[in-house]
Each structure stands twice: as structure tokens, then as C-alpha cells.
């Protein structure tokens, strides 16, 4: 099987975020970036399926130069090659614009399966994968917790997460876009050999022109959502916070839980 996996690079969830000057987005300088959590699971699923079927994985990412680091990591984990939608015109897009660009890039090759994560940890639209599916004209499923390719490779049995601890089992025709949910497998670690090999693997860079798209159709210009500003949300109510010495803080908390909240 020939499998594409879309990986996005997002700020490390541990990182301290600061709103950038102008207030439109966060300060990205010195911010540590990682591969989006569900995308790591998507990559693992793709690598596993490719190994089983004797196929290969091609990784796609849209973003600035720093994204090469995420692509290198995916190559070290076992992807055969990478495609980087690197032109600055691609940046700042909503799911429609990003999905349009990725969809056009994916359509240039013939994949049996496109895997994405279910949701990005920064913009969190949860829809780039299904926008891609719309462009390719393929069926898709969101929150995929299990994939089984049927004999012959024409259909897949897919387990989809529902609310409250239920899963739905579906049968989809291939090719399809599967939007992978975190937790369906155990992502591997890169080996030293993998890291060395990754250095020689191809990262192809694409600009809108290579995809027969105008600069106005992608990125912020091609978006239907305009991000005005980001800010820290207001608290529902003020929590009583204890800081400093853990022993003293623990004692104060227990006192409050007994005498004020009366839950102990």
C-alpha cells in the first residue's frame, strides 16, 4: 500500500505560551515545537500498515522552515520520503485553506490511504482531514481507533470512537482518509540507524504554483476564518491557591477541605 501521513508541527504542550506583540498569535521565537500528538499515532499506524503490506509511507507537512525538523523525525521513524508545503503563502490558513493545499499536493500522487491526526493541538479545527477527503472525493472517518485492511485492499474495517466509551465499527471503501485518534497503537522510537538514514531521504518542497493554486487560494488569504486575536480566557470563578512549601500547602488545603468545603 502507498500511504500518505499528514503531520503538523505544534508547540510543545509543556511550553509556556506568551501572546505575541499585536495580539494575533503567540510568540513563536524560542518556543519548542513537536509533532502533533494524534499525528504521531497516525504515523505509527501508517508505518505499521505499510510494513504489513510491503508498501511505503510518504509524510506531508505544511508550515515554515522549522517543520523540516518534524519531517526529519518522521523519516527517521521510517517514512520513505517527505513533502514540505514550504512557501510562506501557505501559512496562517484555516482548515479550508490548509486542506485545499494538502489535498492538491496529495492528489499529485496516487495513494491508497491518507492518514491524518484527529485534531491539531494548536488550532484544533478537527477538520483538515475531512476537507482533504472532500477535495479527493474519498470517504473518511474521524477519531479512528482501529484499522483493518480487508483482503484485496479494496475496503477497510474501521473502528471509530463515539462519546461515552462507545466505538462504532464501519466498513469504508478505499482509498479513504482516516483521521487517527491518539491511543490506537504504541508509537515507536527512532533508532540510531533510522536517524542516520533520514539524513539522506528526500524532502521535496512545494509552492502554490506547483499545485496549480494561486497564492490567494491558500494560507491566510485563502481562508474563510480570520483570526483577530488570542487572549487568556476568563476564569469561571477564583480558585483558592496555595503555593510555596508543599508540606504547608498540603496542610492548608486539607484544613480548607475539612472546615470550609466539608468534603473530608
Amino acid at each position: 500500500m502507498k500511504i500518505a501521513v499528514c503531520v503538523k508541527q505544534v508547540p510543545d504542550s509543556e511550553a509556556r505560551l506568551r501572546v505575541a506583540a499585536g495580539g494575533r498569535w503567540i510568540e513563536e521565537e524560542d518556543l519548542p515545537f513537536v509533532i502533533n500528538e494524534s499525528d504521531e499515532y497516525a504515523l505509527e499506524e501508517g508505518l505499521g500498515l505499510a510494513e504489513k503490506s510491503g508498501g511505503e509511507v510518504v509524510v506531508f507537512s505544511l508550515g515554515p522552515a522549522r517543520v523540516r525538523e518534524a519531517l526529519r523525525k518522521a523519516l527517521a521513524l521510517g517514512a520513505a520520503r517527505a513533502v514540505h508545503l514550504a512557501d510562506p503563502a501557505f501559512e496562517g490558513g484555516d482548515a479550508l485553506a490548509t486542506g485545499r493545499a494538502l489535498g492538491a499536493a496529495l492528489a499529485q500522487e496516487s495513494f491508497d490511504l491518507v492518514l491524518t491526526g484527529s485534531q491539531s493541538d494548536d488550532l484544533g479545527y478537527g477538520s483538515t482531514g475531512s476537507v482533504i477527503a472532500g477535495h479527493l472525493g474519498w470517504p473518511h472517518a474521524w477519531l479512528v481507533m482501529g484499522v483493518e485492511i480487508e483482503e484485496g485492499g479494496k475496503h477497510a474495517k474501521v473502528t471509530r470512537e463515539m462519546e461515552s466509551g462507545l466505538n462504532e465499527v464501519l466498513r469504508l471503501e478505499l482509498p479513504a482518509v482516516l483521521e487517527i485518534q491518539a491511543g490506537l497503537n504504541q508509537p515507536r522510537y527512532a533508532s540510531l540507524k533510522g536517524i542516520m538514514q533520514a539524513k539522506r531521504k528526500e524532502i521535496r518542497e512545494l509552492a502554490p504554483g506547483d499545485l496549480a493554486l494561486a497564492a490567494e487560494q491558500v494560507g491566510a488569504a485563502g481562508s474563510r476564518l480570520e483570526l483577530l486575536e488570542v487572549s487568556v480566557p476568563e476564569a469561571g470563578h477564583e480558585a483558592q491557591i496555595f503555593e510555596g512549601d508543599p508540606v504547608a500547602a498540603a496542610a492548608s488545603l486539607v484544613e480548607k477541605l475539612r472546615k470550609e468545603a466539608r468534603v473530608l
Binding site: 462507545l166 483577530l228 498540603a250 477541605l257
Partner: protein
């Protein structure tokens, strides 16, 4: 022509999804803000009963697309029906509950209609420059204000953001929503629904819960949390990454994909407070958060908090609890 606001209702087994009523409330308020009218849209097969129930709401009409191909939800069926109907009737807005089902199909609907989708809306401001929506970004650590370009506008409303009990009642006629032939194109076969493996522990009855998050750092560091749970007579539970990493079994997950609990005391250690976790525990009577990051969103819903390293705070807390008990 006045703007029409469509409220697309989610239902299953003859019942409205809990969040459909929140979407009704959001849709009614949006219609008021833009000086338009609100209409409910029901997709399904043999949904007369539900349509009659929704008819008791203050709406211009309840539109029912009744089609055998819509007997069961599929993205192809829903996108086909809504894209065709919206293309013909030109609503200005489609308001939906932000459920797993909506997220699955709405991206493709926005692609089919080339329409903006405000996902996970938590607030609306109507000003001179047009409508501005608020939605969480960066796992709820920040909130974004966004504007849309073009119509229709798709909006999915976050659980708890609009009050279901403030839906205005009224009298709405039920009318058929005719769909072009071939519009409904189911694109999957649904083989069945199953319980996530190992769903055994029922946390909904627990009085006290100690919930562990990714901040615990690894399976070998769980013991002090078990001890705290024991000292409190609590059940141990977890956020999703802890389960995904296999540090606790899946039946102990709290949140939108796991269990929904409302104990007397919910103590969250090393949990950031993403919305998918919060929806599973925000009904708790008293919430205590232990986190090293003062800005973690969990502190916004907590009643008490300790800012610090849980590896130091948890043993201290266990000792303090044992002391008062002993």
C-alpha cells in the same frame, strides 16, 4: 431578505442529543442578534415524533428531510443532504452542536459549500464590524476571537457554552425539506456499536476521585497517587494520555470519550484541563487541582489549588490526610 439561521439537530433512537438544545438556544440568540429567523433542521427517516417535539420551540419552522438514506448517520448522507438543501434555500448560518458526529461531517460540509466553520464556539459578540466568535485554541490555554468571510457560516457550539434551559418555547410548523434526487449519498456501512474493551469500573458512583494526568511522568511514578487515593478512600482515574500510554486501564478515563462523573471531591494531579477532560468532571462538587503551571486551564474551574511539583505535593497531602484521619 432576512437572514435565516438553521439549527441542525442531532438525535439518536428517537431522542434529541443533549447538546441539540444548547444549539437551539445559540441559534435563537444568533437569529436575534442578526435580526433574522431561526429554523430547525432534522435529518432522518421517520422522525415525525421528534419533529413534533421540536415544534414546541420558538422557531419559524421545523424542516424535516425524511429519507431512507438518512435512517442512519453517515458523513456522505449528511453532507449531501445539507449541502443540497443549503445551496437551494441559502441560510446565512448553520448552527450545530459540537459533537463527535458534527466534527466528523462539518469539515466536509464547509468544503462542499466553501463556507467558514467556526468550530467549538464558546461565545458571540455582535459589534459594528460584524459578528465576532470566540473559540478555544492551544488546548484551552488561550481563546481566539475570529471573524468569518462569506456565507453560509457554519458554527458548532461547545458543550455548556449556551444554556439548554433558556431555549424559548413557542409554536413552529413542521414542513418537509425536499432534497434533490441523488443528494443523499451514504459513504460507509455501519457494522455495529461496541463498548470500549474493558469497560468495567463504574466511577460514576464514587464520592471521591483522584485523577492523574500526563504530568505524573510515567507508570513507575503512580504509587504515591495510589497511596493518596487510598488515604482518601478514593477511586483512581485519569486523563486520556495516561490511558493511551497504558499507565492505567481504559475504563478509568474521565472525559468526553470516557466516563462522566460528579463526585463530592475531584482531585486532579498533573492534568492541564482540556475541554474534553473538563466535560467529564465539571459537575463535581469540589475540584482540587495540583499543577506546577499556575496558568493551567484546570485552575479556572478548580475551587482549590496547589501550585507545585506533584511529586512533592502528593506525598505531603497523603501525610496531611492521614494525620487528620488518625
Amino acid at each position: 431578505m432576512a437572514t435565516t439561521v438553521w439549527i441542525v439537530l442531532q438525535h439518536r433512537d428517537g431522542k434529541l442529543h443533549r447538546m441539540s438544545r444548547e444549539a437551539l438556544c445559540a441559534g435563537q440568540r444568533l437569529a436575534a442578534a442578526v435580526g433574522g429567523t431561526a429554523e430547525a433542521v432534522l435529518l432522518g427517516s421517520k422522525v415525525e415524533g421528534l419533529a413534533a417535539e421540536v415544534g414546541g420551540t420558538a422557531l419559524a419552522r421545523v424542516l424535516v428531510a425524511d429519507d431512507e438514506g438518512l435512517a442512519q448517520y453517515t458523513p456522505g448522507g449528511w453532507v449531501g443532504a445539507l449541502a443540497a438543501a443549503a445551496g437551494e434555500r441559502k441560510p446565512g448560518y448553520l448552527v450545530m452542536p459540537h459533537t463527535y458526529q458534527t466534527v466528523e461531517y462539518a469539515g466536509r460540509l464547509s468544503q462542499a459549500l466553501d463556507a467558514p466553520w467556526v468550530a467549538e464556539a464558546v461565545g458571540l459578540e455582535a459589534g459594528d464590524g460584524g459578528l465576532v466568535w470566540r473559540r478555544p485554541v492551544l488546548a484551552g490555554k488561550l481563546q481566539a476571537r475570529v471573524r468569518t468571510r462569506g456565507q453560509p457560516v457554519l458554527v458548532s457550539v461547545q458543550s455548556g457554552a449556551w444554556p439548554a434551559d433558556e431555549v424559548e418555547s413557542g409554536q413552529a410548523p413542521v414542513e418537509p425539506l425536499a432534497l434533490a434526487a441523488g443528494a443523499v449519498a451514504p459513504d460507509r456501512e455501519v457494522l455495529g456499536v461496541e463498548q470500549v474493551a474493558g469497560e468495567q469500573v463504574d466511577l460514576t458512583q464514587a464520592q471521591v476521585i483522584v485523577a492523574v494526568g500526563r504530568g505524573v511522568g510515567g507508570p513507575e511514578k503512580m504509587e504515591p497517587l495510589r497511596e493518596l487515593a487510598q488515604a482518601l478512600g478514593a477511586e483512581l482515574a485519569a486523563s486520556r494520555p495516561v490511558i493511551d500510554n497504558g499507565w492505567l486501564p481504559r475504563d478509568r478515563q474521565i472525559g468526553s470519550s470516557g466516563q462522566t462523573v460528579a463526585p463530592k471531591l475531584y482531585l486532579a494531579a498533573g492534568i492541564s484541563g482540556a475541554i474534553q477532560h473538563l466535560v467529564g468532571m465539571k459537575g463535581s462538587q469540589v475540584v482540587v487541582a495540583i499543577n506546577k503551571d499556575r496558568e493551567a486551564p484546570i485552575f479556572k474551574i478548580a475551587h482549590y489549588g496547589i501550585v507545585g511539583d506533584l511529586h512533592e505535593v502528593v506525598p505531603a497531602l497523603t501525610a496531611a490526610v492521614r494525620e487528620t484521619a488518625g
